[in-house]
């Protein structure tokens, strides 16, 4: 620890007054200062999380499996009969596989969206007592989301085999789109951190609203590229990248090209904007944190 002395200034000036320096510090803390800390917290949480459970890591599989089972059951009973025809009228994908893929992508979107608020909420003690690269909490949260997604995606291997699904070359585009969807969701979650930390109504509203949000998002049904259905895709931030990822995985193509391109281009700026909001809001949030 023989670093040369560095000068630190704390004053009332907005950090955004020097945007270049702010961005440099954010990315430095995210990828250099906070990398080791993020990894240690990730490993700590992983070791501690499932230690007192009987089912262990099976809990990662359970939500999409249970949701898929429920929707497949409801569909088999004729409770709902959404169209599962693919892009350009293509068919041949089993309903269970279709819903399972949708559920896995949706679950990832939801986790990524809620991650920043959960990260702040579960680390109140550290945030209000220690000055460390706070972006480490976001990086650690991303590790969590990615691990859960990878483990959940393992379900797709037997599912594709069992339901005779074929993997299209669109898979290669689906993967980066899936990554951009995660970044976009984390970015949205980060911008919600100030409001969600100050007003606990926000995370509660999100939790309550998720089932309804899922219904208006084409997770368990196909969204045709016709008016007014396509409006749903443009107005619902969860929809475009989710639909494109799922369509490319199952059918190798998607009809919603424009929305996919626009939201793909928005993903990275949204993530960066979220990081900035997170960074500049933390001191004001720490001031008002009640720590038991």
């Amino acid at each position: 620890m023989n670093d040369p002395p560095r000068e630190i200034i704390y004053d009332a000036k907005p950090e955004l007054a020097a945007p270049g320096r702010l961005l440099r510090e954010i990315f430095q803390d995210l990828f250099i200062g906070g990398r080791e800390l993020a990894w240690r917290i990730f490993v700590r949480n992983l070791r501690g999380m499932y230690r007192q459970t009987l089912l262990g890591m099976f809990w990662i599989f359970l939500p999409p499996l249970a949701n898929t089972a429920i929707w497949v059951f409801l569909r088999s009973r004729g409770v709902f009969n959404f169209n599962l025809v693919g892009p350009n009228g293509s068919t041949g994908v089993d309903a269970t596989l279709y819903i399972l893929v949708g559920m896995i992508v949706w679950q990832t979107f939801v986790e990524a969206l809620q991650m920043p608020m959960n990260a702040v909420s579960s680390n109140r003690g550290m945030l209000s007592r220690l000055n460390f690269p706070r972006e480490a909490l976001i990086l650690e949260g991303l590790y969590d989301v990615l691990l859960n997604t990878v483990i959940r995606s393992l379900l797709l291997i037997p599912a594709f085999v069992f339901f005779s699904g074929s993997l299209h070359s669109g898979f290669l585009i689906a993967l980066p789109l899936f990554g951009l969807m995660i970044l976009f969701a984390v970015g949205c979650g980060l911008t919600l951190v100030p409001l969600g930390t100050l007003y606990h109504d926000i995370p509660r509203l999100i939790s309550i609203g998720l089932p309804f949000w899922m219904i208006i998002t084409p997770v368990i049904y196909y969204l045709p590229n016709t008016w007014p259905a396509t409006l749903l895709n443009w107005l619902n931030p969860a929809s475009p990248l989710l639909v494109a990822t799922r369509d490319l995985l199952l059918f190798g193509t998607t009809e919603h090209v424009a929305a996919t391109v626009v939201f793909s281009l928005l993903a990275l700026p949204t993530f960066v904007l979220g990081l900035v909001v997170f960074r500049v809001s933390i001191p004001a949030l720490v001031e008002r944190m009640v720590v038991s």
Binding site: A12, P14, P283
Partner: protein, 414 residues
Amino acid sequence: MSSEQAILEVDRVWKKYCRNLRRAMWYGVLDVASQFRFRRASRPPKELLRPGEFFAVRDVTFSMKPGECVGLIGPNGAGKSSLLKMITGLIRPDAGRIRISGRVGALIELGTGFNLQLSGRENIFINGTVLGLKKPEIERAFDGIVEFAELGAVIDDPIKTYSSGMRMRLGFSVAAHLRPQLLILDEVLAVGDVRFRMKCFQHFNDLIQQGTSIVLVTHAVGMLPRVATRTIVCEAGRIVFDGDVQRGLTIYEQGLVDQGNTQQSPGEQHWTRARIVSARTVDQAGQEQTEFCTGDDLRLEIVIECETPVREARLIAAVGSPAAETIGSMATPFQGFRFDLPMGRSVFELTLRKIPLLLGAYYFDISLYGPQLTDFCHRRTGIGGFRVVAPPIDVNGNGISGLICFEHGWRRRE
């Protein structure tokens, strides 16, 4: 002190808070939004207050040189924690500027980030990383940390099996191996037993010798002289004293005594027949005197006003200190001093000869009774405050310390 030498400069810093939670939440939204206004007109700090807000830190200025250990003391609500949080960068000042030259290590609460299900070994690596140490640094310091915490035999057990004292020792030990240029310690001195505490003091003294500056916040002020080289006393968000440790401690205690003076408890407002109007320490000529040396004579002047005569009245005076509460008490009948209280004003004088009290602030609790235990007239607590300002004490085992100076002698028996 030139600014080139200072490791910490706090320059005219202000911090405001809001006690009303709902308002505080809304102000939080506004504060975050204001971060996106690139240019803000700077206003005088006093114009920054919004409805319901108050200043927890007001216009605080001080600086520190390398190798200084400053004890930051003051009663609850004096603004110490807010100041520390600003110095550690947890919250931002609303006005003013803090400049730090060097690496900061902060111990606001020991063991923050511990996972109880993991072993001591795993937690050392986690806690070390949280505090800013790199993996090779932790690996190098690992044996020293375990040895310092005296937990070698149980280091691979989950720390949920540790006692709270063991967890504190582990947390302290990890933090003790930080090598920052500025170390901030908030109420972490009461760690473990006396032997471990002495080890901690030794460690701090070593750090100071090596040029580390320490800011120390504690209510256990008796420990301060062991490490602090300077004291800053805060009251109501302002610095009221900055200088010598022992003088700072007496001013801090005097503040507590004064607080007791001005805050008369509801019970003290009730009296029957006669009341104690005032009590003050005076010199030979009857002029008020509040500073004494150990061994001086002290006179206390007590003024009583009587509405209904009290026969065979009794006065009881107790000397107390914020650190020890009641030190000794004396009542008029003990010396056969008997008196009646006629209507009107009476003045009494209590003389304490060769006061054995050591450095610190003290006060009197005075009660007035009739002849029986049930003949209560009036009681005043925390009045007649005075300070003992000399001789200096030594808490490192080379002089006298504590509250009382015993008349004593040492000899070796043959």
